[in-house]
């Protein structure tokens, strides 16, 4: 890093183009993949934009994810609050506490289990497409397709009544909105937790054939802990795949050649999903970690107590790892992208997300071969102020 480089003050969020990470981050990556950044509270931490460096940090248990150690890279609340941890919310725990929770759940998310869900995901997808057809064009693809599919699936898996979705979708939206006040966030968490605690008590009395009932019956977790686990899975199941389906469809509609491959070549779909994950990198800020001891990353010496914020978007476009990475090419080998993270926190639901996308994209494009945007691309509202990037709405015709 040259001394002339002005230090970045806080993490940039505004994207100049709908599908590309902020230009500033790409510029920084090309200068130095690890460099200093001033955090919202004045902390002198680090920004990591290189692929190899980001991957190394995510795999290194000398970097902690505990909230009480973290500094926030954005002035807004972000996901980086120092609020005391909700019991069971294991995304914010280090090993070995993290391991205990993760172990209780991983058996539920194996590749084989997810394959067994395939027929049900097909059914859900087809019924959403039928409904779209019945209601007729134009439609908002987010409301009628991208959000309902993953929501129905996670609700069924967890054993959360889908009829209650309005309530928790509202709370979930408050949580990922970077402009939400701390009071609103706290209220939304409390609201969700009291709902989930009620559900846990119900499952204890009337167990069903679902994950939450199974965890209750397993008897290893308290009601409080179960609430935190359910909160994490419910939010993760809602905000991520839904935004991949919405933003991914938008990206395909504006790249007709790529769209045609996904629609017409079943053998290309698995790889296309990886490439869309890489290219779109919907985790909008972070993750952030804090060094527990001095660690060298690339040319930088990160001192104990210093926070590092990664840009998965910039790392996934790193030309050292993905040649011509700024172009969407569904035939490129895109495996190894960091969109699900890396290391012990790598997304637990990733195999579920993959199957949902592998089914939903081609089913949509085949049912409506004439699918197109109902508004000019520049008028599609983007989620620039949300922790998970995507589109707020995607008006389409067919």
């Amino acid at each position: 890093m040259t001394e002339a480089t002005p230090r970045l003050a806080t993490f940039p969020l505004a994207r100049e183009r709908a599908f590309d990470p902020p230009d500033e981050l790409a510029r920084r990556r090309d200068e130095a993949p690890v460099q200093r950044m001033t955090y919202a509270d004045g902390h002198e931490g680090w920004l990591v934009t290189g692929y190899a460096e980001a991957r190394a940090i995510l795999a290194d248990n000398r970097f902690s994810t505990r909230p009480e150690l973290l500094h926030s890279p954005i002035p807004q609340r972000g996901e980086f609050s120092k609020e005391p941890l909700t019991p069971g919310f294991f995304l914010r725990m280090d090993a070995p506490e993290h391991t205990r929770y993760r172990r209780l759940l991983t058996g539920q998310f194996t590749v084989r289990r997810m394959k067994q869900l395939e027929p049900r995901i097909h059914e859900i997808t087809e019924s959403r497409l039928d409904a779209m057809e019945r209601e007729g064009a134009p439609a908002d693809l987010v409301e009628s397709f991208a959000l309902p599919i993953p929501s129905l699936v996670i609700c069924e898996m967890l054993g959360v009544p889908y009829e209650d979705r309005e309530k928790f979708q509202r709370d979930s939206a408050v949580l990922v909105n970077l402009d939400s006040s701390m009071e609103d966030v706290r209220a939304a968490v409390q609201d969700l937790l009291s709902y989930l605690h009620g559900l846990v008590e119900l499952k204890a009395k009337e167990p069903g054939d679902d994950m939450l009932s199974g965890l209750v019956a397993g008897g290893e977790l308290t009601t409080e802990e179960l609430g935190g686990v359910a909160l994490l899975l419910l939010i993760a199941g809602h905000e991520t795949t839904a935004n991949m389906l919405g933003l991914g469809t938008f990206a395909l509609l504006t790249n007709p050649g790529q769209l045609a491959v996904v629609r017409d070549d079943p053998a290309a779909v698995d790889n296309a999903v990886e490439e869309l994950l890489r290219y779109l990198s919907i985790v909008h800020i972070g993750p952030t970690r804090t060094a527990l001891e001095d660690v060298e990353v690339g040319d930088a010496l990160i001192r104990a107590g210093e926070s590092v914020t990664l840009s998965l978007g910039a790392a996934n476009r790193d030309p050292e790892r993905f040649e011509g990475g700024d172009t969407l090419d569904v035939t490129r080998p895109a495996h190894g992208h960091l969109s699900f993270g890396h290391g012990i926190h790598q997304c637990l639901g990733q195999q579920l997300a993959r199957i949902e996308m592998r089914i939903a994209y081609p089913a949509l494009l085949r049912r409506f071969p004439n699918l197109r945007l109902a508004v000019p691309a520049r008028d599609v509202p983007l989620r620039a102020k949300m922790a998970i990037y995507g589109v707020h709405r995607l008006p389409v015709l067919w």
Partner: protein, 64 residues
């Protein structure tokens, strides 16, 4: 080629089973890796290396 798997480190992300289902599976209870074929044919070498690379927790290694 000999595959070693450390189930203590495994976080059950399933990248191995996804990449190379002939060689890796996951346990039904806790999702940790099960090696189906610890000495796979040499032809699978590149795919095994890829699975090792993709494992997020460093639970897999290959020796000779």
């Amino acid at each position: 080629m000999k595959i070693k798997a450390d189930t203590g480190r495994c976080v059950g992300a399933g990248m191995c089973a996804l990449t190379l289902p002939q060689v890796f599976d996951q346990s039904e209870d806790d999702g940790t890796v099960v090696v189906l074929d610890a000495e796979p044919p040499a032809a699978l070498g590149p795919a095994v290396n890829r699975a090792v690379q993709l494992c997020p927790s460093g639970a897999l290694s290959v020796g000779r």
